[in-house]
């Protein structure tokens, strides 16, 4: 009985909310609670603040105000489904689901509902194959790019040869953590280095065995695909066993301030990948501060502005806003539909000039999207933690992945997916 009254309540409220949607609706599936809250909060702050800035500065996008609908997922797939279903009725234009589980969940759903999905540097790597996944975009880079960028960086450090080196991958024992294995195996064969896999079971609070193994085997480099508490513990344990931090590289989800600060000074020199640049002096931050924070429209308490994940959230919002602008340009209407936004994403072109114009010069690499390639350029930078100044310092410029290899792997996996699901690849 009880259930039915609840259902009706939900029904009516969903209907009421749905009717109010006249502006550009951007759902923000955030996770400010649960085990990964420390990562979810700054990202969501950045994502929302940028749209709020657009509203305050430009009156929205193309004259249409943006309405951000935040929905808390707690990084939990079932709550993610609830969030998706409750927001899609409001005319959601683009989803940024943030968790691997929710992404896999939403790939078929958004495809059926014809709403574009942007999984920026996470999710299903082979979704870069736009002909198989027309509604899914994972630009500017994916995990396989990341693995390749890391190896290219190491090649650079070792005068072009990794022959005889021993590289270990410390990974979260889940779909996410296992992503780079295939790529690294291929690269190991190509460059002649030994590749060791070291799994850490969720949640990763206890990594003594793994780090004793690293201490015993003394790999030259340790790459890390970690998440949540695993990152903090790994960095602390690396310091404990005396593993040189400058030979320890995390991927871009293992390279935020909160990953390194718990270990204090011991984390100095730790490396991580990033898909965007960190630069607190970008004009856009000043604008956010004055036009969003001081106006009292900020999503968070302001303490995260300029941090790694805040910047990434803002970058993601910028990419979404640019795609919407592009869609408006292509279709000639301001009040775009999800399908139009998809077209905008597929025609997206990010140039240095445009980024400079937006007050975030060089924040990301230049790239353009096409029907065949939803994955962007795959470039990444290597940044290093300076514990004394408590800041990340970019060590390199954007490094390219080994495109031929990655493209081959993507083609292989997406073809298999297409076959399993009776999809005929093609452009929309």
């Amino acid at each position: 009985m009880k259930m039915k009254t609840l259902t009706t309540l939900a029904l009516t409220s969903a209907l009421v909310a749905g009717s109010a949607a006249a502006d550009l609706v951007i759902p923000d599936l955030s996770y400010r609670t649960g085990p990964y809250a420390a990562g979810g909060t700054p990202f969501s702050d950045g994502y929302q603040d940028y749209f709020n800035l657009l509203n305050a500065r430009d009156g929205g996008i193309g004259g249409e105000t943006v309405r951000v609908v935040e929905c808390e997922t707690g990084y939990n797939t079932e709550r993610g489904v609830e969030c998706y279903e409750s927001t899609k009725g409001e005319g959601a234009l683009i989803y940024q689901p943030l968790s691997t589980g929710i992404t896999y969940q939403l790939i078929p759903k958004t495809t059926a509902d014809e709403i574009p999905l942007h999984t920026m540097g996470y999710g299903r790597t082979s979704a870069a194959a736009g002909e198989v996944f027309p509604w899914v975009f994972n630009y500017p880079a994916n995990y396989w790019d990341a693995a390749s960028v890391m190896v290219n960086y190491l090649l650079e450090q070792n005068d072009g040869s990794l022959e005889g080196k021993n590289i270990a991958l410390l990974f979260h024992n889940s779909a996410y953590g296992k992503e780079p294995i295939r790529t690294l195996e291929e690269l190991a064969e190509e460059h002649g280095f030994t590749f060791t896999q070291i799994a850490v079971d969720h949640p990763g609070q206890e990594q003594k065995s793994q780090w004793l193994q690293i201490r015993r085997e003394r790999p030259d480099y340790v790459l890390m695909w970690g998440w949540g508490v695993m990152n903090q513990v790994a960095i602390q344990e690396a310091a404990n066993v005396g593993f040189p931090m400058e030979n320890f590289i995390g991927n871009w989800w293992a390279g935020a301030e909160h990953d390194v600060t718990p270990a204090g000074a011991a984390s100095d020199g730790y490396l991580s990948l990033n898909m965007n640049r960190i630069d607190t002096s970008l004009p856009v931050f000043g604008q956010i501060d004055s036009m969003v924070h001081e106006a009292g429209n900020a999503a968070g308490d302001g303490s995260n502005i300029g941090s790694v994940l805040y910047t990434r959230g803002m970058y993601a919002a910028m990419l979404a806003a640019e795609a919407i602008a592009k869609a408006q340009e292509i279709h000639g209407v301001a009040d775009v539909t999800p399908a139009m936004v998809r077209d905008g994403m597929e025609a997206l072109e990010i140039t240095n000039a445009r980024m400079e114009e937006l007050g975030m010069a060089q924040i990301g690499p230049e790239f353009s999207v096409s029907c065949e390639n939803h994955g962007g350029s795959g470039l990444g930078i290597v940044q290093q933690w300076n514990a004394a100044d408590a800041e990340w310092v970019a060590l390199t410029d954007y490094i390219s992945p080994q495109d031929a290899l990655i493209d081959g792997l993507i083609a292989e996996d997406s073809t298999a997916f297409a076959a399993e699901n009776n999809i005929t690849p093609g452009c929309l």
Binding site: T41, E72, E78, R79, G101, P108, R124, A175, L409, E420
Partner: protein
């Protein structure tokens, strides 16, 4: 005045042992079924089905299964998540290996496979009791999750380690995959819920159910009056795992469509289902439904109030949600220690005497 036994004389033992001995209950039961099968499919939308009904129905099956083991037989299990994973992966392997066989059969077979696995992990229950057994079932939970994560055969060697349900049809209507109409996935789950609830009810009111309850209430006395503890406990594990396996298969194939074992079937799932039957009421089929409804709908309900009505920040609401759920559990316990099902029974007893309580 309608709700009473007086005047509703039973003239046969069959009539006396039926599921709902009171006429009004029977009408209500048929009414609920009729609404669920004939009316709701025309009313529901994506949101109601995917966010509320599917999780409610699927968790109900799991809760019925666990209730048979824990509520009726007294064997506390924390392996539910692992067994749901068995159901899900069995269903996935069957779906991809025999694409032409009906998905409904796959789901049933997945239940059967889970029953076998569950029976195997039930063997220690012959020697280990109480909380010790609960912790022992955690071995099953962690091992199974690790296994499905580690052995690539289970996920058909896919690069991501995720399993995705391919599209399958029943009577020409898609029931899995992205193009499933909301009403179809709802009906499939409803059919399985009805089927499982009926079986559970029949088993628990009959000889097997009495054996289970005898083991639960006093295992030594049960053995002396002729209950074979091995058989009773293992049948409970088997039947329970059968249901849990079905729920896992539906959870994967119909509800989520894509899962990763550690995230979807981790230890949290085991706890969640256990909480459901404890809150709903141990040893009660209705309790399984009540508990599932409570834990599935309450957070959504609180979110609606907090975020949509009051406009609070989402993280505050999420934190308050935990506080409120915790407080409600404690409040219920202090007021009615035996769960929602007991609350319901007390309400019925009062109703039966109404309007002359003395």
């Amino acid at each position: 005045m309608l709700y009473r036994e007086a005047g509703d004389y039973k003239t046969s033992y069959e009539a006396d042992s039926q599921t709902f001995p009171i006429a009004f209950d029977r009408y209500r039961y048929w009414f609920v079924l009729a609404v669920a099968f004939l009316v709701l499919p025309f009313l529901v939308n994506d949101y109601v089905v995917n966010a509320l009904l599917l999780p409610f129905l699927i968790y109900s099956i799991a809760a019925i299964g666990l209730n048979i083991l824990t509520g009726y037989t007294g064997q506390v299990s924390l392996g539910t998540g692992g067994f749901m994973a068995v159901g899900a992966y069995a269903c996935y392997k069957l779906m991809t290996a025999f694409p032409d066989v009906n998905i409904l059969i796959h789901v049933l077979l997945a239940g059967g496979i889970t029953a076998i696995v569950g029976t195997l992990f039930g063997l220690p229950s012959l020697r280990i009791k109480g909380f010790y057994l609960a912790v022992a079932t955690l071995a099953a939970q962690f091992f199974l999750v690790w296994l499905f994560n580690k052995v690539a055969w289970f996920y058909n060697y896919s690069a991501s380690g995720q399993i995705s349900a391919p599209e399958r049809f029943v009577f020409g209507v898609a029931v899995t995959g992205p193009n499933t109409p909301a009403w179809a996935s709802y009906l499939v789950c409803l059919v399985f819920v009805t089927f499982c609830a009926l079986i559970a009810r029949n088993l628990t009111r009959g000889a097997l159910g009495r054996q289970w309850m005898a083991i639960r209430d006093m295992d030594i006395a049960a053995e002396i009056i002729g209950v074979n503890p091995l058989k009773a406990k293992l049948t409970a594990f088997a039947v329970s795992s059968f249901f849990v396996g079905i729920s896992g298969a539906l959870f994967f194939a119909v509800y989520l469509g894509a899962v990763e074992v550690g995230e979807a079937f981790g230890i949290n799932k085991s706890f969640l289902v256990l909480f459901m039957i404890i809150i709903g009421g141990l040893g009660s089929i209705f309790g399984a439904f009540a508990g599932a409804a409570f834990l599935v709908t309450l957070p959504v309900f609180l979110k609606l109030i907090g975020v949509d009505l009051l406009g609070w920040p989402t993280d505050l609401v999420a934190h308050l949600q935990l506080v409120v759920v915790g407080l409600l559990i404690m409040f219920f316990l202090v007021k009615e220690p035996h769960g929602l099902a007991q609350l319901w029974r007390v309400a019925k007893e009062k109703l039966r005497l109404w309007p002359f309580p003395h």
